[in-house]
Symmetry: C2
Subunit: 209 residues, 2 copies
DNA sequence: CCAGTATTAGAGCGCGTTCTCCAATACTGG
DNA sequence: CCAGTATTGGAGAACGCGCTCTAATACTGG
């Protein structure tokens, strides 16, 4: 990405850092996330994202090579940020505590990051990015590995095995159920109410008790 | 919709039915649903829908006034078809049987109608239609009334009251949980496995028992 | 101060999309 | 057979979109 216009024939000139960026990559991604949260994929046109942060459209294409690449990087960043808190909760040594905390981390995170929650919960990757850029399919392939491993490890410690049925049960309880609980509120644009957390706790306890 | 080109000045001529349609509305909607299920909203262009059923694009605009109107009618039709089976199950006199059957009706319906399930579960109305046509916002406003009423009635009979907490619990158990249970399978393009039904039954029993 | 470089800045191209338009067509009831 | 009408069929206009391109610009280390 960086140094795209540099002619390699001039040799390894290591000096000169160049003009500093007025519109850093994360600022652009923030703008895209906001437009996406407000108006869906159709609203996150390149010119709209540029206008939202006061940048020329050329700057977006200088930093990201294409619209798909921009949205793909936003997707990776958003998934990573959510998974960080989910995995941290799931790492608690006490199994029941880990399960309930991880599940409740979903509504908590949605309250703290409403725009990113809308990006993550209201859109599928395929319809957001369209054609996933080849240079990012390495990251895509391993995106869910950490969560999958943590769920398998949790299942193994809880049941002594990580067979299909047990893993499916844990995935349902810790991933699908919390998503189900918050989705209508995220879609409505309001913070999930406190009763959501109670329902999630109760459901997780019933399924994994 | 019909008779759009008729000049009202010629008076009430009630004879003549006109040329029969080679591409009825439901055929067009079926094509749109298939493209939508396979490739998302971006794949359901008017020319693509027309090509999918071998019709000229003009026929789509003759029957539906616009792409938004076409997709809006597809949305209404799909929601209605799903709700019919959900409500039928929820109408069972035995409360527990009604609850479990209604919840399990979701994975059952997804297996029977995979394309429509993808339309309904994988896309939100706002991003599918864009600008909802004014002539259909009457139907939109009452779309969920029947389900809302049935859920409220079920809650009232079960708890003696349809207060916010109880209604939220029933909605979570009978709507959100089944949707969450099938979603990953519908998104993956495979029929929800039988264990989904078992998890849904168990969750509903735990939440409403 | 200078050479080198990354970035800004914005005008504009090409493409795919929705939608319009009109003649031709195939059926109706009488 | 006829008048009336809904529908087909397809070409193309109008528009918005992603993306490209070139010059100007604002920094860097030496």
């Amino acid at each position: 990405m960086v140094g795209r216009r540099r002619d390699p024939r001039v040799g390894p000139r290591l000096t000169a850092m160049g003009r500093p960026a007025r519109f850093p990559a994360d600022l652009i991604l923030d703008g895209a996330a906001r437009l996406l949260a407000e108006g869906g994929p159709g609203a996150a046109t390149t010119t709209a994202v540029a206008a939202a942060i006061g940048a020329p459209s050329g700057s977006l294409y200088h930093r990201f090579g294409s619209r798909d690449l921009l949205l793909a990087r936003l997707w990776v960043r958003t998934v990573g940020r959510f998974q960080a808190v989910f995995l941290a909760a799931l790492a608690h040594p006490d199994l029941d505590r880990a399960a309930v905390d991880a599940a409740v981390a979903v509504p908590v995170w949605c309250r703290a990051h409403p725009d990113e929650a809308r990006v993550l919960l209201l859109h599928r990757r395929a319809e957001l990015v369209g054609r996933w850029p080849a240079e990012l399919d390495g990251e895509l392939a391993t995106l869910n590995d950490a969560v999958a491993a943590a769920l398998a490890e949790h299942t193994r410690r809880r049941y002594g095995t990580a067979g299909g049925a047990e893993l499916a049960r844990a995935t349902f309880a810790l991933v699908d159920v919390p998503h189900a609980a918050v989705r209508r509120h995220v879609a409505a644009g309001v913070a999930p109410p406190a009763e959501v957390d109670a329902l999630v706790r109760e459901t997780v306890a019933a399924l994994l008790g």
